[in-house]
């Protein structure tokens, strides 16, 4: 019974928590822009929450620096089950362009420490793509959202190429 209510609440009003894992702020302001009147992620019942303990979806940005690594694992563990992770930005998905030659303090993206359900590449991705990624994640939980998703795909041609579903395995 309780699971049923929790599942219903998750589908109807998923709460997201944003965590910056060492990004350059670009993805972060695009995430906020996605929540603002023009793109309006809130029309799907999504609410931005400060605390990971209230969150269903964690939106992570950045390549994950060594300094923030332990914090992001702690934040992930604090979020209640079921939880989903969206990795935003090129650095969130792969660590590029920060990791690689010469860089001594960055890891290779969010999935190097926590399982990721949806990737949104781009430097930074457009707010449309972030909205679409969250919507697609929700449509796997609530089949009724399929119509909204189809409409979204029709209004912005090529949007489905902007996100990539992940295979969540702990890194």
């Amino acid at each position: 019974m309780l699971d049923k209510i929790a599942g219903w609440a998750l589908r109807k009003s998923p709460w997201v928590c944003h965590f910056n894992g060492g990004s350059c702020n670009a993805c972060d302001i695009e995430i906020v822009a996605a929540l603002m009147p023009r793109f309006d992620l809130e029309r799907f019942g999504i609410l931005l929450q400060g605390s990971p303990r209230h969150a269903d979806v964690l939106i992570c940005t950045g390549p994950i620096t060594h300094q923030i690594r332990d914090r992001i694992i702690r934040v992930y563990e604090q979020a209640p089950e079921p939880k989903f992770v969206v990795a935003v930005g090129s650095c969130g998905t792969s660590g590029r362009p920060f990791c690689g030659k010469g860089a001594y303090s960055v890891m290779e993206g969010v999935d190097s420490i926590i399982p990721v359900h949806m990737y949104v590449p781009g430097c930074p991705p457009r707010p449309d793509a972030i909205t679409y990624a969250v919507l697609k994640l929700l449509s796997t939980l609530d089949p009724k959202l399929a119509d909204v998703l189809a409409e979204f795909e029709k209004s912005i041609p090529g949007i489905e190429t902007m996100v990539q579903e992940g295979e969540p395995v702990a890194g």
Partner: protein
């Protein structure tokens, strides 16, 4: 009364970025603040040494996602100085145009965040809606909403067509009208004034001693603006004065930023009127002669300073970046001491902190 020490951050609802403050409070008053930086350290300066100048500019642009043009512009100017390249006049004006559009977007973004910190979410939503106007202009000119990739070593990558210039003029008219409204809200709305008046005071002497830069210093009546103290690009030909306020509190910083938005709109319009014809780019050699140089630019948050040493190859020997947010932290501690704990978020937000700039 007993002193209590409590941590804020690195993950905290009032902070949008990972940063950590250890605040010691006596009752409701802050008596001591300790800042822990470094959570966003991405070793960009070291990464630059392993990349050539063109790739280095790409990485440096990603130091900050809000003032990205300023970082790539300052890097390019430093390298042009080493190469002794003269940039075409049209490119200089176009760089100023994008820099000022970026200033408009950054100041509007800040006004929204500040309104959110004082609990005025309606203004937050309004400002961010209108910010989309300038985001659209930047996307039209450069092709991207945040990392523009507009400046290149030796000029700019994209040109401005007459149709784009017309759209810019239209967009700037909308922005001027809306900024007029925000100026009225920020200076007369009593619920906003009660939260910002007399909060986080920084005196002129403190601002000078602690090395504050940008709007934080100018709100304390220090007329320091790298655009006119060390003129670069097309700024020597544009005759404006730094905007200052003698209030020194959060209200002063709000007023300075709102008036700077007007000034940026004025500069954009003048640039569109005076835009010279000609090339936008000159060819730059990949190998840079031996030498060292510095370049300064006025970012929306204050002065950005680059030091580049070259060893004659296509890769730099040292890149040092000093960003405005880092310079403003000592001033923030001075502002926080003696303030109420409840005012800490708006005081921290009032310097427009950018952790990704600070830590690099």
């Amino acid at each position: 009364m007993a002193k209590i020490t409590f941590p804020i951050g690195p993950q905290h609802p009032a902070l949008k970025e990972p940063e950590s403050f250890k605040i010691t409070a006596e009752g409701e008053c802050v008596v001591d603040v300790d800042i822990r930086l470094g959570y966003v350290h991405r070793s960009i300066e070291a990464a630059c040494l392993a990349r050539n100048y063109v790739q280095g500019q790409y990485v440096c642009e990603r130091i900050c996602g809000i003032c990205s043009h300023i970082h790539s512009n300052t890097f390019a100017r430093a390298v042009e100085d080493l190469l002794q390249l003269e940039v075409p006049a049209r490119a200089k004006y176009l760089r100023v145009l994008v820099a000022e559009l970026e200033r408009i977007h950054s100041h509007l973004l800040w006004l929204g965040v500040a309104a959110h910190e004082v609990g005025f979410d309606t203004l937050f939503m309004y400002v961010w809606r209108d910010r989309e106007v300038v985001q659209d202009l930047l996307e039209m000119i450069t092709g991207n909403r945040v990392h523009y990739g507009f400046t290149t070593i030796g000029g700019t990558k994209f040109d401005l067509t007459p149709q784009m210039a017309d759209k810019c003029t239209e967009g700037l008219m909308v922005l001027r009208e809306r900024t007029e409204y925000y100026k009225q809200v920020a200076t007369t709305e009593s619920s906003f004034l009660k939260r910002v008046e007399g909060v986080g005071v920084l005196t002129e002497q403190q601002a000078r001693e602690l090395g504050a830069v940008g709007p934080t210093a100018r709100a304390s009546n220090v007329p320091y603006d790298a655009r006119w103290v060390f003129p670069y690009d097309a700024y020597p030909e544009l005759d404006y004065q730094p905007i200052t306020s003698d209030l020194g509190d959060v209200l002063g910083r709000t007023i300075v930023r709102v008036l700077e938005t007007f000034q940026a709109i004025d500069i954009c319009e003048e640039v569109l009127r005076r835009l010279p014809e000609g090339d936008i780019q000159v060819r730059a050699k990949p190998r840079v002669p031996e030498g060292e140089t510095v370049a300064r630019c006025e970012a929306p948050r204050g002065e950005v300073f680059y030091y580049i040493r070259s060893n004659g190859t296509d890769k730099p020997a040292r890149v040092k970046v000093r960003t405005p947010s880092l310079a403003n932290w000592p001033a923030t501690i001075a502002m926080l001491e003696g303030a109420y704990v409840a005012d800490a978020p708006i005081i921290i937000a009032s310097i427009d902190p950018c952790m990704s700039c600070t830590d690099r």
